[in-house]
Protein backbone atom coordinates (compact mmCIF):
# COMPACT_ATOMS: atom_id res chain seq x y z
CA UNK A 1 0.00 0.00 0.00
CA UNK A 2 3.02 2.23 0.20
CA UNK A 3 3.04 4.94 -2.40
CA UNK A 4 6.01 5.23 -4.72
CA UNK A 5 6.59 8.84 -3.80
CA UNK A 6 7.95 8.03 -0.34
CA UNK A 7 10.84 10.16 0.65
CA UNK A 8 14.10 8.32 -0.07
CA UNK A 9 15.77 10.26 2.71
CA UNK A 10 13.87 8.19 5.29
CA UNK A 11 14.17 4.85 3.51
CA UNK A 12 16.08 3.37 6.41
CA UNK A 13 13.69 4.48 9.11
CA UNK A 14 10.60 3.33 7.18
CA UNK A 15 12.25 -0.07 6.69
CA UNK A 16 13.07 -0.26 10.42
CA UNK A 17 9.54 0.65 11.45
CA UNK A 18 8.07 -1.77 8.95
CA UNK A 19 10.19 -4.59 10.37
CA UNK A 20 8.87 -4.14 13.92
CA UNK A 21 7.35 -7.21 15.49
CA UNK A 22 3.60 -7.45 14.94
CA UNK A 23 1.72 -7.69 18.18
CA UNK A 24 -1.26 -9.96 18.60
CA UNK A 25 -4.36 -9.63 20.73
CA UNK A 26 -4.76 -12.35 23.39
CA UNK A 27 -6.71 -15.46 22.44
CA UNK A 28 -9.56 -14.61 24.81
CA UNK A 29 -10.02 -11.15 23.31
CA UNK A 30 -13.36 -11.91 21.65
CA UNK A 31 -14.72 -13.76 24.69
CA UNK A 32 -13.83 -10.85 26.98
CA UNK A 33 -15.29 -8.40 24.54
CA UNK A 34 -18.61 -10.20 24.20
CA UNK A 35 -18.83 -10.57 27.98
CA UNK A 36 -18.29 -6.83 28.39
CA UNK A 37 -20.91 -6.05 25.75
CA UNK A 38 -23.44 -8.34 27.42
CA UNK A 39 -22.77 -6.91 30.87
CA UNK A 40 -23.13 -3.37 29.53
CA UNK A 41 -26.52 -4.13 28.00
CA UNK A 42 -27.65 -5.74 31.27
CA UNK A 43 -26.45 -2.71 33.21
CA UNK A 44 -28.46 -0.47 30.98
CA UNK A 45 -31.75 -2.31 31.71
CA UNK A 46 -30.97 -2.34 35.44
CA UNK A 47 -30.47 1.40 35.55
CA UNK A 48 -33.75 1.89 33.72
CA UNK A 49 -35.60 -0.09 36.40
CA UNK A 50 -33.58 1.46 39.19
CA UNK A 51 -34.49 4.91 38.04
CA UNK A 52 -38.08 4.36 39.11
CA UNK A 53 -38.09 1.63 41.68
CA UNK A 54 -34.90 1.48 43.70
CA UNK A 55 -35.25 2.85 47.26
CA UNK A 56 -32.03 4.80 46.91
CA UNK A 57 -33.74 6.99 44.34
CA UNK A 58 -37.33 6.70 45.51
CA UNK A 59 -36.81 7.86 49.14
CA UNK A 60 -34.95 11.11 48.42
CA UNK A 61 -37.32 12.04 45.61
CA UNK A 62 -40.37 11.40 47.83
CA UNK A 63 -38.84 13.42 50.66
CA UNK A 64 -38.11 16.25 48.28
CA UNK A 65 -41.66 16.23 46.93
CA UNK A 66 -43.12 16.21 50.45
CA UNK A 67 -40.91 19.11 51.49
CA UNK A 68 -42.00 21.05 48.43
CA UNK A 69 -45.68 20.44 49.23
CA UNK A 70 -45.21 21.57 52.85
CA UNK A 71 -43.40 24.73 51.81
CA UNK A 72 -46.10 25.54 49.26
CA UNK A 73 -48.85 24.95 51.82
CA UNK A 74 -47.20 27.23 54.36
CA UNK A 75 -46.63 29.90 51.79
CA UNK A 76 -50.27 29.79 50.73
CA UNK A 77 -51.48 30.17 54.33
CA UNK A 78 -49.30 33.19 54.82
CA UNK A 79 -50.54 34.89 51.71
CA UNK A 80 -54.21 34.39 52.72
CA UNK A 81 -53.77 35.90 56.21
CA UNK A 82 -51.61 38.86 55.54
CA UNK A 83 -52.69 41.85 53.54
CA UNK A 84 -50.42 44.45 52.14
CA UNK A 85 -51.87 47.75 53.45
CA UNK A 86 -50.33 49.61 50.54
CA UNK A 87 -52.16 47.42 48.04
CA UNK A 88 -55.68 47.53 49.56
CA UNK A 89 -58.23 50.36 49.44
CA UNK A 90 -59.04 52.07 52.76
CA UNK A 91 -62.42 51.29 54.35
CA UNK A 92 -64.96 54.03 53.78
CA UNK A 93 -67.61 54.92 56.34
CA UNK A 94 -71.16 54.83 54.97
CA UNK A 95 -72.25 58.02 56.80
CA UNK A 96 -69.47 59.95 55.02
CA UNK A 97 -70.75 58.75 51.67
CA UNK A 98 -74.28 59.93 52.59
CA UNK A 99 -73.01 63.28 53.80
CA UNK A 100 -71.18 63.70 50.49
CA UNK A 101 -74.32 62.87 48.55
CA UNK A 102 -76.33 65.41 50.58
CA UNK A 103 -73.73 68.11 50.04
CA UNK A 104 -73.81 67.40 46.32
CA UNK A 105 -77.58 67.63 46.21
CA UNK A 106 -77.60 70.84 48.23
CA UNK A 107 -75.10 72.45 45.91
CA UNK A 108 -77.11 71.52 42.84
CA UNK A 109 -80.33 72.76 44.54
CA UNK A 110 -78.81 76.11 45.38
CA UNK A 111 -77.47 76.46 41.89
CA UNK A 112 -80.91 75.77 40.48
CA UNK A 113 -82.48 78.32 42.84
CA UNK A 114 -79.97 80.92 41.77
CA UNK A 115 -80.89 80.27 38.17
CA UNK A 116 -84.56 80.67 39.02
CA UNK A 117 -85.61 77.32 37.73
CA UNK A 118 -88.40 75.30 39.30
CA UNK A 119 -86.45 73.06 41.52
CA UNK A 120 -88.15 73.80 44.78
CA UNK A 121 -89.38 70.21 44.95
CA UNK A 122 -85.85 68.99 45.05
CA UNK A 123 -85.01 71.31 47.91
CA UNK A 124 -88.17 71.02 49.91
CA UNK A 125 -88.95 67.38 49.13
CA UNK A 126 -85.84 65.25 48.54
CA UNK A 127 -83.37 67.37 50.40
CA UNK A 128 -85.45 67.69 53.56
CA UNK A 129 -86.11 63.96 53.52
CA UNK A 130 -82.42 63.31 53.19
CA UNK A 131 -81.70 65.79 55.95
CA UNK A 132 -84.28 64.30 58.23
CA UNK A 133 -83.35 60.66 57.67
CA UNK A 134 -79.71 60.51 56.76
CA UNK A 135 -77.92 63.67 57.69
CA UNK A 136 -78.30 63.09 61.41
CA UNK A 137 -75.50 60.79 62.36
CA UNK A 138 -76.01 58.54 65.34
CA UNK A 139 -73.48 59.71 67.85
CA UNK A 140 -73.73 56.81 70.24
CA UNK A 141 -70.53 54.90 70.63
CA UNK A 142 -68.36 57.67 69.19
CA UNK A 143 -65.48 58.68 71.33
CA UNK A 144 -65.86 62.43 71.77
CA UNK A 145 -66.98 64.80 74.53
CA UNK A 146 -70.75 65.21 74.77
CA UNK A 147 -72.30 68.35 76.16
CA UNK A 148 -75.62 68.05 77.96
CA UNK A 149 -77.70 71.22 77.73
CA UNK A 150 -80.26 72.56 80.14
CA UNK A 151 -83.88 73.22 79.02
CA UNK A 152 -83.21 76.95 78.74
CA UNK A 153 -80.10 76.42 76.70
CA UNK A 154 -81.94 73.96 74.46
CA UNK A 155 -84.73 76.48 73.85
CA UNK A 156 -82.19 79.17 73.05
CA UNK A 157 -80.39 76.82 70.68
CA UNK A 158 -83.68 75.89 69.01
CA UNK A 159 -84.48 79.53 68.38
CA UNK A 160 -81.03 80.06 66.93
CA UNK A 161 -81.47 77.04 64.65
CA UNK A 162 -84.85 78.37 63.45
CA UNK A 163 -83.25 81.68 62.71
CA UNK A 164 -80.44 80.05 60.73
CA UNK A 165 -83.00 77.89 58.97
CA UNK A 166 -85.08 80.90 57.99
CA UNK A 167 -81.96 82.66 56.77
CA UNK A 168 -80.88 79.56 54.89
CA UNK A 169 -84.18 78.85 53.16
CA UNK A 170 -84.98 82.45 52.44
CA UNK A 171 -88.44 83.90 51.82
CA UNK A 172 -89.74 80.70 50.12
CA UNK A 173 -89.81 78.78 53.40
CA UNK A 174 -91.38 81.57 55.31
Amino acid sequence: MHENGDNMMFKEITRTLGSLQKLKAPSDFEANLMRKINSLSEERTLTFIERFLSPSRLIPSTALAAAAVIILFMFNLQTEDSENPLMTDPRVREDFILADEVALKTESGLAAQRNGSDSSNLLSGDLTRVRNEDLFINKTGLNFRQIYLTEGEKEQLYKLKQKIKSLWNGPAVK
Binding site: E12, I13, A25
Partner: protein, 195 residues
Protein backbone atom coordinates in the same frame (compact mmCIF):
# COMPACT_ATOMS: atom_id res chain seq x y z
CA UNK B 1 -26.67 -15.77 5.56
CA UNK B 2 -24.20 -18.65 6.05
CA UNK B 3 -20.84 -18.46 7.80
CA UNK B 4 -18.96 -18.88 4.51
CA UNK B 5 -20.91 -16.11 2.85
CA UNK B 6 -20.22 -13.74 5.73
CA UNK B 7 -16.48 -14.42 5.61
CA UNK B 8 -16.44 -13.50 1.94
CA UNK B 9 -18.02 -10.10 2.54
CA UNK B 10 -16.01 -6.87 2.62
CA UNK B 11 -15.76 -4.80 5.79
CA UNK B 12 -18.38 -2.36 4.53
CA UNK B 13 -20.79 -5.17 3.62
CA UNK B 14 -20.30 -6.75 7.03
CA UNK B 15 -21.08 -3.56 8.94
CA UNK B 16 -24.16 -3.02 6.74
CA UNK B 17 -25.28 -6.57 7.54
CA UNK B 18 -24.76 -5.82 11.23
CA UNK B 19 -26.66 -2.54 10.93
CA UNK B 20 -29.63 -3.95 9.03
CA UNK B 21 -30.08 -7.39 10.58
CA UNK B 22 -28.07 -7.08 13.81
CA UNK B 23 -26.07 -10.15 12.77
CA UNK B 24 -23.66 -10.66 15.65
CA UNK B 25 -21.52 -12.98 13.54
CA UNK B 26 -20.84 -10.10 11.12
CA UNK B 27 -19.60 -8.01 14.04
CA UNK B 28 -17.42 -10.90 15.27
CA UNK B 29 -15.77 -11.23 11.87
CA UNK B 30 -14.99 -7.50 11.89
CA UNK B 31 -13.48 -7.88 15.36
CA UNK B 32 -11.32 -10.76 14.10
CA UNK B 33 -10.12 -8.69 11.16
CA UNK B 34 -9.29 -5.53 13.07
CA UNK B 35 -8.22 -6.59 16.55
CA UNK B 36 -4.54 -7.11 15.65
CA UNK B 37 -4.06 -4.02 13.46
CA UNK B 38 -5.66 -1.89 16.16
CA UNK B 39 -3.59 -3.49 18.91
CA UNK B 40 -0.43 -2.64 16.93
CA UNK B 41 -1.55 0.90 16.22
CA UNK B 42 -2.59 1.74 19.78
CA UNK B 43 0.40 -0.01 21.36
CA UNK B 44 2.91 1.83 19.17
CA UNK B 45 1.21 5.10 20.09
CA UNK B 46 0.85 4.54 23.84
CA UNK B 47 3.57 2.01 24.63
CA UNK B 48 1.45 0.24 27.24
CA UNK B 49 0.02 -3.17 26.39
CA UNK B 50 -2.64 -3.24 29.15
CA UNK B 51 -3.97 0.20 28.30
CA UNK B 52 -3.81 -0.72 24.63
CA UNK B 53 -6.02 -3.78 25.18
CA UNK B 54 -8.57 -1.68 27.06
CA UNK B 55 -8.67 0.89 24.30
CA UNK B 56 -9.08 -1.70 21.54
CA UNK B 57 -11.90 -3.34 23.49
CA UNK B 58 -13.53 0.04 24.03
CA UNK B 59 -13.21 0.73 20.31
CA UNK B 60 -15.03 -2.51 19.50
CA UNK B 61 -17.73 -1.73 22.07
CA UNK B 62 -18.22 1.69 20.49
CA UNK B 63 -18.57 0.05 17.07
CA UNK B 64 -21.12 -2.37 18.53
CA UNK B 65 -23.18 0.28 20.27
CA UNK B 66 -22.92 3.01 17.63
CA UNK B 67 -23.17 0.84 14.56
CA UNK B 68 -25.87 3.05 13.09
CA UNK B 69 -23.65 6.11 13.09
CA UNK B 70 -21.43 4.51 10.44
CA UNK B 71 -22.22 5.92 7.00
CA UNK B 72 -21.40 3.82 3.95
CA UNK B 73 -19.73 6.78 2.21
CA UNK B 74 -16.59 6.22 4.32
CA UNK B 75 -14.35 3.19 4.48
CA UNK B 76 -14.95 1.03 7.53
CA UNK B 77 -11.20 0.91 8.26
CA UNK B 78 -11.06 4.71 8.37
CA UNK B 79 -14.01 4.82 10.76
CA UNK B 80 -12.65 2.24 13.18
CA UNK B 81 -9.12 3.74 13.12
CA UNK B 82 -10.64 7.16 13.88
CA UNK B 83 -12.44 5.78 16.93
CA UNK B 84 -9.34 3.98 18.18
CA UNK B 85 -7.13 7.02 17.51
CA UNK B 86 -9.45 9.34 19.41
CA UNK B 87 -9.54 7.00 22.39
CA UNK B 88 -5.76 6.56 22.32
CA UNK B 89 -5.16 10.31 22.17
CA UNK B 90 -7.58 10.88 25.06
CA UNK B 91 -5.77 8.26 27.11
CA UNK B 92 -2.41 9.80 26.22
CA UNK B 93 -3.55 13.26 27.35
CA UNK B 94 -5.00 11.84 30.56
CA UNK B 95 -1.67 10.20 31.34
CA UNK B 96 0.22 13.32 30.38
CA UNK B 97 -1.81 15.42 32.81
CA UNK B 98 -1.01 12.92 35.52
CA UNK B 99 2.72 12.92 34.90
CA UNK B 100 4.54 15.51 36.97
CA UNK B 101 7.57 16.00 34.85
CA UNK B 102 8.32 15.30 31.22
CA UNK B 103 11.21 16.35 29.03
CA UNK B 104 9.09 16.23 25.90
CA UNK B 105 6.64 19.03 25.29
CA UNK B 106 3.39 18.23 23.48
CA UNK B 107 2.94 20.10 20.28
CA UNK B 108 3.82 19.94 16.66
CA UNK B 109 6.30 22.76 16.47
CA UNK B 110 7.97 22.36 19.79
CA UNK B 111 11.47 21.03 19.86
CA UNK B 112 12.41 17.80 21.55
CA UNK B 113 15.38 17.65 23.85
CA UNK B 114 15.87 13.94 24.01
CA UNK B 115 19.27 12.33 24.27
CA UNK B 116 19.89 9.29 22.04
CA UNK B 117 19.82 6.08 24.04
CA UNK B 118 23.37 4.68 23.99
CA UNK B 119 22.98 2.13 26.72
CA UNK B 120 22.86 -0.86 24.36
CA UNK B 121 26.00 -2.44 22.94
CA UNK B 122 26.08 -3.30 19.19
CA UNK B 123 26.07 -7.04 19.92
CA UNK B 124 22.90 -6.57 21.95
CA UNK B 125 21.28 -4.71 19.08
CA UNK B 126 21.44 -7.86 17.00
CA UNK B 127 18.70 -9.20 19.23
CA UNK B 128 15.48 -8.18 17.51
CA UNK B 129 13.60 -7.93 20.84
CA UNK B 130 15.98 -5.32 22.17
CA UNK B 131 15.97 -3.50 18.85
CA UNK B 132 12.17 -3.36 18.94
CA UNK B 133 12.30 -1.99 22.46
CA UNK B 134 14.71 0.76 21.44
CA UNK B 135 12.54 1.70 18.47
CA UNK B 136 9.44 1.72 20.66
CA UNK B 137 11.16 3.96 23.20
CA UNK B 138 12.23 6.30 20.43
CA UNK B 139 8.70 6.37 19.07
CA UNK B 140 7.39 7.39 22.47
CA UNK B 141 9.89 10.23 22.62
CA UNK B 142 8.72 12.00 19.48
CA UNK B 143 5.82 14.41 19.47
CA UNK B 144 2.49 12.52 19.63
CA UNK B 145 1.16 14.45 16.65
CA UNK B 146 3.99 13.06 14.50
CA UNK B 147 3.99 9.65 16.17
CA UNK B 148 0.34 9.04 15.36
CA UNK B 149 0.93 9.63 11.67
CA UNK B 150 4.26 7.80 11.46
CA UNK B 151 2.67 4.72 13.02
CA UNK B 152 -0.30 4.85 10.65
CA UNK B 153 1.98 5.26 7.65
CA UNK B 154 5.08 3.16 8.36
CA UNK B 155 3.67 0.46 10.64
CA UNK B 156 0.02 0.21 9.63
CA UNK B 157 0.89 1.02 6.01
CA UNK B 158 -2.13 3.21 5.37
CA UNK B 159 -2.22 5.65 2.46
CA UNK B 160 -1.73 9.38 2.98
CA UNK B 161 -5.37 9.94 2.03
CA UNK B 162 -6.61 7.48 4.63
CA UNK B 163 -4.40 9.07 7.30
CA UNK B 164 -5.71 12.49 6.33
CA UNK B 165 -9.26 11.24 6.77
CA UNK B 166 -8.53 9.56 10.10
CA UNK B 167 -6.69 12.51 11.60
CA UNK B 168 -8.85 15.20 10.02
CA UNK B 169 -6.03 17.18 8.39
CA UNK B 170 -5.14 17.64 4.74
CA UNK B 171 -2.77 15.37 2.83
CA UNK B 172 -0.01 18.01 2.63
CA UNK B 173 0.03 18.41 6.40
CA UNK B 174 0.04 14.64 6.81
CA UNK B 175 3.12 14.31 4.58
CA UNK B 176 5.04 17.07 6.31
CA UNK B 177 4.22 15.75 9.77
CA UNK B 178 5.28 12.23 8.81
CA UNK B 179 8.60 13.51 7.50
CA UNK B 180 9.21 15.57 10.63
CA UNK B 181 8.42 12.56 12.77
CA UNK B 182 10.74 10.38 10.74
CA UNK B 183 13.51 12.97 11.05
CA UNK B 184 13.13 13.02 14.83
CA UNK B 185 13.18 9.23 14.93
CA UNK B 186 16.26 9.04 12.75
CA UNK B 187 18.04 11.37 15.11
CA UNK B 188 17.05 9.28 18.10
CA UNK B 189 17.96 5.98 16.47
CA UNK B 190 21.33 6.97 14.99
CA UNK B 191 23.10 4.25 17.02
CA UNK B 192 21.14 1.54 15.28
CA UNK B 193 22.20 2.83 11.89
CA UNK B 194 25.87 3.13 12.93
CA UNK B 195 25.90 -0.60 13.36
Amino acid sequence: MTERNLNELSDEELILEFQKNSTIRAFEILVQRYKNPLVNYVFRFLGDYEACMDIVQETMIKVFRNKDSYKSIAKFSTWIYTIAGNLARTEYQRRRRRSIFSLNAYGEDEETFEIPDESYRPDQLADSGIKDEIIQKALLKISPVYRDMVVLRDIQELSYEEIAEITGVNVGTVKSRINRGRAQLQKLLKNIYKE
